[in-house]
Structures are given as C-alpha cells and as structure tokens.
C-alpha cells in the first residue's frame, strides 16, 4: 500500500470485499473492493451515477449491500442490529446536504449523540463539543440554530457533530457539492486540517485539488466498479484506465 509523505499507516480498518448492490433491477455496485487503513485518506472520484455515494453509504449501512463482505473495525456488517450499531458508533458521516437538526441549537446538534449514544454527562459532552466547534472555527455560533448559519458554517457544524462522537473513520459524501463557491474553501480547510492530524477519512468529492494534495490514495469508480486506484500523482498524471483518462480530460 502506498504511504506518501512518510506517513505511518495503521492496520486495515475498513475492508470491503466484492460488494454488490441492486436498486430494484439496477445493478448499482458491481463487485467493489476497497481496504482503508488507519490514518489513511482515501478519495473516491468518478462521474455522477457511478455508485460512489452508494458505496460509502454501504459502509455505515445507510444502504444495505446484498452480496459481499463489509468489515469495519473488525465487525462484519449483517442484519444483526447490534453489529450495525457498533459500526455506526465508530463511523462518522458528513452529508452533502448537511442534515443538521433544525429544531436544535448548534450545541445540542453536536452533543445529542454523545449524550444519548455514548452516555456522556452533559458538561462532558458540551466541553468536547466546544473543543470541536473551536476546531472547525465556529465556537461563537454554539447557541444559534442551524437555519441562522451560512452553508459553509452548517457543514462545519456537521463535521464537528460527527467528530464529537470520536469515530475511528470519517466518511464524507460530497461535502462541498451543495455549497456556494466562496465558502467551499472554509470547509476544505477543515478537512485538510483533519487529514494532516491523521484522521482516517473516506471522501467522495469532485474537488480534484483536495484529492491531489491531501489524499493518500485515489479510487476511481464508474458504472458501479472500482476501475483504478493508486497514489494521486499516478492517477492524475498517468491514468492507466481509458475511462479515467476520459473522465479527467473532461474535468481538468
């Protein structure tokens, strides 16, 4: 496995082996395999409809895969609710459309899951929440409601909300696609910072700059298949697969 910048990667934390998924008769994932190691930053790219989002949504069982094996932190995903809960506790997710809870303040958004799932006391949860809100740069917004914040601020709250659960892996499902161009930077800055700190991240994105500069590995998907993976410089400068070449020529 590649480990650029002299980064020391840990053991495998996500293992997907031959994952298949159908929506009705539509074969959305056609035997995807992917291994992510601790502290690794993996960026999944590919044209829309290629199954990128579906794939990472299978990792925390927002979508149910029908064939193959997904193992997260040693727990194999099955219909067993206890296993699903175990996996979800260790996997944080950031969505394209933020999905903050509009009826709760920013602080309550961030502290709800730690208090109810991890059973932390309110002061403990709030202390940790403020730590992460500071980290994403918006501690002063803690008592506001999501609707009062800009898109960029909302997405940063969503990142803080996922981080406060202290997950082992963070999944980002197109985190900047719903943002106005001028605020994309503030969210990417937070993600770059997390990557440099050694957070394990799987990111579905169209931000090629981020993929090129921050990721340890780029995964290219098309038509529900993983067609190519490798270090960013290799994928972007010497793409081997013809479809990756076409994709890159369209967007770069």
């Amino acid at each position: 496995m590649p480990a650029p910048q002299g980064k020391q990667l840990g053991s495998a934390i996500i293992e997907c082996i031959d994952v298949h998924k159908w929506f009705g008769t539509f074969h959305a994932l056609r035997g995807c395999s992917l291994t992510v190691q601790e502290k690794e930053v993996v960026v999944i790219i590919g044209p829309s409809g290629s199954g990128k989002s579906t794939f990472i949504r299978c990792i925390n069982r927002l979508e149910v895969h029908q064939r193959g094996t997904i193992r997260v932190n040693g727990v194999t995903l099955s219909d067993d609710v206890r296993h699903i809960d175990q996996v979800r506790r260790e996997v944080g997710m950031v969505f394209q459309s933020f999905n903050l809870f509009p009826h709760l303040t920013v602080l309550d958004n961030v502290t709800l899951a730690p208090r109810k799932v991890r059973r932390w006391s309110k002061p403990d949860a709030e202390e940790k929440a403020m730590y992460f809100l500071c980290k994403v740069g918006i501690p002063e917004q803690a008592s506001k409601y999501p609707g009062e914040l800009s898109g960029g601020q909302q997405q940063r709250v969503a990142i803080a909300r996922a981080l406060t659960m202290e997950p082992k892996v963070m999944l980002f499902d197109e985190p900047t696609s719903a943002l106005d161009p001028e605020v994309i930077g503030e969210v990417l800055d937070v993600m770059v910072h997390l990557a440099h700190e050694g957070t394990t991240m799987v990111v579905v994105t169209h931000e090629m700059g981020f993929a090129r500069e921050v990721s340890d590995r780029v995964v290219f998907m098309d038509h529900g298949e993983v067609l190519e993976e490798g270090p960013p410089e290799q994928c972007f400068t010497q793409p081997r697969h013809e479809r990756l070449q076409t994709f890159l020529s369209k967007i770069l």
Binding site: M93, F95, N99, F101, P102, L104, L112, A162
Partner: protein, 401 residues
Amino acid sequence: MPTESYAPVLPPPQVSMSLLGWLRLHLFSTWYNTLLTLGLVGGLVLVLPPLWHWIFAVAHWQAVTINLRLFLVGLYPSDQVWRPGVLLILLAWLCGGSTAPNHGMMRHVSAPLGAGFVLLTCLLTGSARGIVGGAALALLVGYGLRWRWPHTSRLWHIGWLLSAPVVLIVLGGIEGAGLSPVATTQWGGLMLTLLLAAVGIVASFPLGLVLALGRQSTLPVIRWCAIAYIELVRGVPLVSVLMMFALLLPLFLPASWGRPNTLIRLLVGMTLFTAAYIAENVRGGLQAIPRGQYEAATALGLTWVQAMRYIILPQALRAVIPALVGQCISLFKDTALATIIGSLELLGIAKTVIEQAQWKSITGGVVFEVFSFTAVVYVVFTYSMSRVSRRLEHTLGVGTR
C-alpha cells in the same frame, strides 16, 4: 480617484394617509367595491337594531341565569357542588405550577387554562368569593413555586398524571369515606363536556402516535393492522361509533362483565375514533421530515426509538400543530353528540332547559336564548384553543427559520 463608493442609502417612501384617504383606498376604490360597502352597511343597519333590541329588551336571559348551575355541572347534587369547585382549585394550582416563567412551551397552554379554571370557579360558585379567591390564590401559589424552583417540570407532569384519577374519584365519590357516591349519570353540563374532551384528547394522542408510527413501520403485519384500523375508523361516522359503543357493545360483552359505565363506553368510543384522525395528522408530519434527518440520526448511532424521540417526532409534531389543534377543537364540539345517547353534557342540558315548564308560556320558548348561550360557550372555548395554537406555533417557529 478610484475608491470604493457605494450607492447612497435612501429612506423608504413615506406612506401617510388620512382617514378619508384610507376609506377611499380600501372601501370605495372601484364602483363594485363601493357597491359592496354600501350593501354591507345597509345590511348591518337592517339587522343590528332589531338584534340589539332582542338581546337587551326581549330575550329571557333568566332561562340561562337561573339554570347556570345546571349548565355548569348538570344534575350534580347541589350540596356536593363544592367538589368540582375544589377540583378547579387543584387544577388551577397545577396550571400555575406548569407555567414556567421564562421558558418552555407548555406555559402557553397552562397559563390560559389556569385563567379559565379561575373563571369557571367564578361562575360555579356565584357569590361564594372564598372559593374564587382560593382558585386565584392556588394559581399564584403554583406559579410562585415554579418561579422559585424552575427545574421541577417533571414533578408537575406527575401532578397532572395523578390529577386524572383524583378528579374521577372526587367527582364519583367513595362509599363510606365522607364523599358520598355520585353516579356518572348525574354528571353533566360544561363539566361533562370538558371531561369528555380532555380525556378524549389526552387518551387519543398516544394511541394516534402509535398508529402513525405503525403505519410507517417496515414490518408488514404491523403496517397492515395500522392501515386497516385507520381506514376502517375513518370510514365510519362518529355517531355510529358512539351508538355502537353505547348501545350495541353491552349486548355483545359476556354477561359476567356486566354493563360497563355509559360514560366509559362514550370515552372509549371517542378516543378510538379520534386516534385514527390524529394518526393521519401525525403521519403527515412524519412524511414532511426529509430522509436526511433519519439518515443523520442513524449515522450518529442513535437507535430508532432515540431518533424518533429526539429528532423526528419533535419536528413532525411541530409541523402539524395546527392540524392537531383542529382535531382537539373538533373533538370538543363532537362531545355534543353524546346527547343522542342521553348524556346530559352542555347541549343535552340546553335541550332540558328549553323543555322546562316555566318557559312554555313564552311565545317561541327560550330556544334562541339557550342555544345562543350554548353557542357562545362553545365559541369561547374553541377560539381560546385556536389562539393557544397560534402562540404555540409562534414560539416553536424559532428554530425552523
């Protein structure tokens, strides 16, 4: 010099208007508007003076004032009327305690409710200033307690839970305990109306919630049962449900069960009926919540129950407050249907009063007086409910901008 320069900030145009200007704009702007205005004024001139004359010179309001106690508590024994009085004081106290000075949404319900209870004691006890003062005092004492200890909402909730059996026991009485038994057939008037409405609303809400969640369930059997129940009940008129529970049900029950109390049968019928409608209202709210909210909640590791409790239901119920209050108003008015099975709630009492011998000599009887009084009572209550609903929506709107 190319410095930054912004366009000047101008004040908004002044709109000042004389009375004449306002009239011209709103009432006489076009020929058909003028015609409409004149027609309305003409109509009012025709209707109002005779109405005024009837209200203040002709109408026999003594039919209402003499029977005020009948309207309030029905055939409840006159020497026992202190019991509803004491209960009103208790409820006023609970209302006061549930009115948190600076926070919480329940204060928008409990404050007007408490005021209503004090007003009712005024009517009920007439000249007995003691009890009225007691109710007002109880309201203030409750409020004071809550002001002193603001984080006691759970205790007050328990108080409300306990109040239901207390009300029923105090009204019904216990053999040999100083409270002589009063049969439920003697309960009546506004008291019975409020009791039916309150129990119906409180009991049908949780049932409706369960049905709504059942209808959304991924387990087919639960979903089919919920759908069947909701569609069946919604397909039947309330009158027939009440008839069935009041008249037919006893015939089908095993003889050893005896005849369950009519009041209870009424309440069960109303609750089961209203629950189906509440379920549909709640379902509307549930469907309005974007999928992303479920996903975010479950991705954070919340269980289904936790996601419902903290994320989905607070938003879903908030979205359907107008519909739920509409259902409450509807149920409040539907209690009048209890009349047809011989219950003497507000409307039943109205009909009894009209039949009293002493008004027979008056041409046309006292039908208009009694029914307009009853109508006013219903309107006062339903209008208060919709005001409360507006204030709730207003308070809850804060987070949804």
